[in-house]
């Protein structure tokens, strides 16, 4: 516990998200929306960040993002569930469960093969969703507003606070995980699998654990996205372009810190909103150009912009 509160990142995350939740009550609704969408994507990106730490890039994480979103929608369709906790739990459990199953296969793959197999799995789900009428086919489903212990808040600002709380919790869990020996194993596996194996820890298990954690995060993200948006559909939740966007945000954000994905997610959401407003027919062009610019000029992502002053701050406090 002492190490938890002593961790600067943990403190930073707590303060940041608290401020964000409070600020939410003073911000206009459209900003609140964009921030929520951004946080939801950020949560999925946090999952990709954990995978990236172990050297893997999934080009099919929309599988879990979509699964989380559809869990929320289907829980409502089939069982009328609109409570936050079961919704979120459903999303996490379903995504984590499938992640656990597919993990047995995926943990054997690296590099491009890992990326392609992830893509195949996600597109198989996409294929099912798009073509099955009872799963909403291309339309998907509407998702009604979320209820918190029987209370349905009038404004979405309360929901933002809930989302912020979930994201802060996830960020801290990931931070603690990455600081643990198990978490350091992710980097160890990326650096040298053989050594990890010969030290007595099965590489497959390390990757599997990371993968399930990552799937759960993406599932939660999808669930939150569905709740924030009020709508799920295959093209905006499961198609490969969604996976591509998530990887894009991961690179844009940088893998340096658990807070980076959220910053990246929110920045992405605003870039997209403004790009769409500025040039409805060329917003993808703006997003694509941003992506290229980041790869060329900021290969370590936005976090590298924050890291320097942050480190300086740390030094001063020491």
């Amino acid at each position: 516990m002492r190490s938890l509160t002593g961790d600067r990142t943990v403190r930073g995350v707590l303060i940041g998200f608290t401020l964000l939740a409070i600020a939410g009550f003073f911000l206009p609704a459209w900003i609140v929306n964009n921030v929520m969408f951004g946080l939801a994507r950020g949560l999925a990106v946090l999952g990709l960040l954990v995978l990236l730490r172990t050297g893997l890039v999934s080009f099919g994480h929309a599988l879990y993002f979509g699964l989380g979103a559809y869990s929320v929608a289907l829980l409502e369709q089939l069982a009328g569930v609109t409570e936050l906790v079961p919704r979120l739990a459903g999303a996490v459990v379903v995504a984590g469960g499938l992640g656990w199953i597919l993990g047995f296969v995926l943990r054997r793959y690296r590099g491009i093969f890992f990326a392609m197999l992830s893509l195949a799995f996600s597109m198989a789900l996409y294929g099912i969703l798009v073509k099955t009428e009872s799963l909403g086919s291309t339309d998907g489903f509407s998702v009604s507003p979320t209820v918190l212990f029987g209370w349905s808040p009038e404004t979405r600002h309360v929901f933002l606070a809930m989302v912020a709380a979930v994201c802060a919790f996830a960020a801290i869990v990931v931070q603690v995980y990455l600081a643990s020996a198990l978490g350091h194993l992710t980097t160890a596996v990326r650096d040298n699998e053989i050594r990890v194996e010969y030290l007595g820890y099965p590489v497959a298990r390390s990757i599997h654990t990371t993968y399930v954690l990552s799937a759960m995060l993406a599932g939660a993200a999808g669930g939150i996205m569905a709740m924030a948006l009020g709508q799920v559909d295959p093209d905006s939740m499961v198609n490969w372009t969604v996976s591509g966007e998530l990887v894009f945000i991961t690179i844009m954000a940088g893998a340096g810190n658990v807070a980076a994905p959220f910053i990246g997610g929110v920045v992405f959401e605003f870039i997209r909103t403004y790009a769409f407003e500025l040039a409805p027919h060329a917003w993808q062009l703006i997003v694509g150009a941003t992506l290229l610019a980041i790869i060329f000029f900021l290969p370590n992502g936005l976090w590298s912009l924050i890291e320097k002053p942050w480190k300086k701050l740390e030094k001063r406090r020491d």
Partner: protein
Amino acid sequence: MHSMFNRVHRLALGLGVLATALGPYGAVTAKDSIDVGVVAFLSGPAAGPFGVPGKNGAELVIDAINAGTLPAPYDTAGFAGATLNPIHIDESGGNAKQVAEYRNLVEKQGVDAVIGYISSGTCLAVTPVAEELKKLTILSVCGTPRIFEDGDWTHIFRTQAHAVGDSIAAALYVRDNFGDVAGYTGINQNYAWGQDSWKSFSLAMGHFVPKAEVSSTPQFPKIFAGQYGTEISTLALDDAELVHSSFWDGDIEAFVVQAKVRGFFDNKQFLSTVGASAIDSLGSEFPDGTIIGTRGEIGILVREKSGPLNTWFVNAYRERYGAWPLGPSYQYAQAVLALKIAMDKAARDHGGFPTQDQVIAAMKGLSFETFAGRIELALGNGHQAVHPVGYGITRWNDETGEPEVTNITFYPSKCIYPPAGKPSLDWLAEGMPGSDC
């Protein structure tokens, strides 16, 4: 006034206060102008045949109303005196994106109302959000019956009748003109619109042409698939001679082009419930003898219909855009018309600029004269329109170098829509009790 609101918004953004307290409607008493989101496909396969003609239709009528140049009885300028300032939004990109865009329209741009939506899927997605945000929204084109049969909405209106009437009218037309058809199949898109259309058409056929056999493999390709080689083979191999389709966007053109080369239409009787846009865009390539509908007294079926409003609309449209007005042009224009009528009426009733609730009250159950027919908001507790639906047979006229539709029959709304409160598929399954044909 509007700019003041912008300033308030900006102020709220800056200080972080007030914004939630002051809704965009606040305590408004009078307005010089209103902002209305107009949503239509501006890109993608649905832009050419639906989105752009729809947007044009809206634009034409909005400009005319703002200027007060629309023929009587709509010759007063403005919407309750205010000028309408349209904000055009592209409907493409999927339902989730549209929901986000809707929120942006209302919460960021602060529009006073939203008109539009072509895709049934998008309508279904946007409706609950519109209700949540309490914003007057007039759906203009989409046809799924689920909107008002599965839900009860205060802020949503639809000035277009739902698809069940199209299907019943289609079955009636088949009964009246192709009564001896032995079997039928269909190709429809795999989302709300296509599925609903096929379901209600086959139910109606069961009722009106009971001896016609329904195929076991109707096709449901993905919307905007663009390529139908395999589907055409399956349909061609099917014994059924009548092929029903509710394709509407670029898909209908792609299908017709691909099927025509393969001689598909020589062996099959094709029935297209909404494909009229392709008649103009494909010209002589469009197969003669197709049963075509336009979902109301609109588009090519009323192109020649006289009357001051229709003549004005067709001529003004042709003059401004160099093309015939299509069905969607009428549909969007009608939605704008409904807004004007309701706002004017509310202003008259209450004196002064009406609030949103007053407009909604005025619009409820409205019955009004449109360009070539009449629309009654009779279903969905006064929120859902009904109107006659007609079909005809296509023919390319070599002399004029224009397509034409012959043998047109309109079926009255009393015949093809269920009574209020009755879900249409149940009504169809029960044999359409109370239908007056």
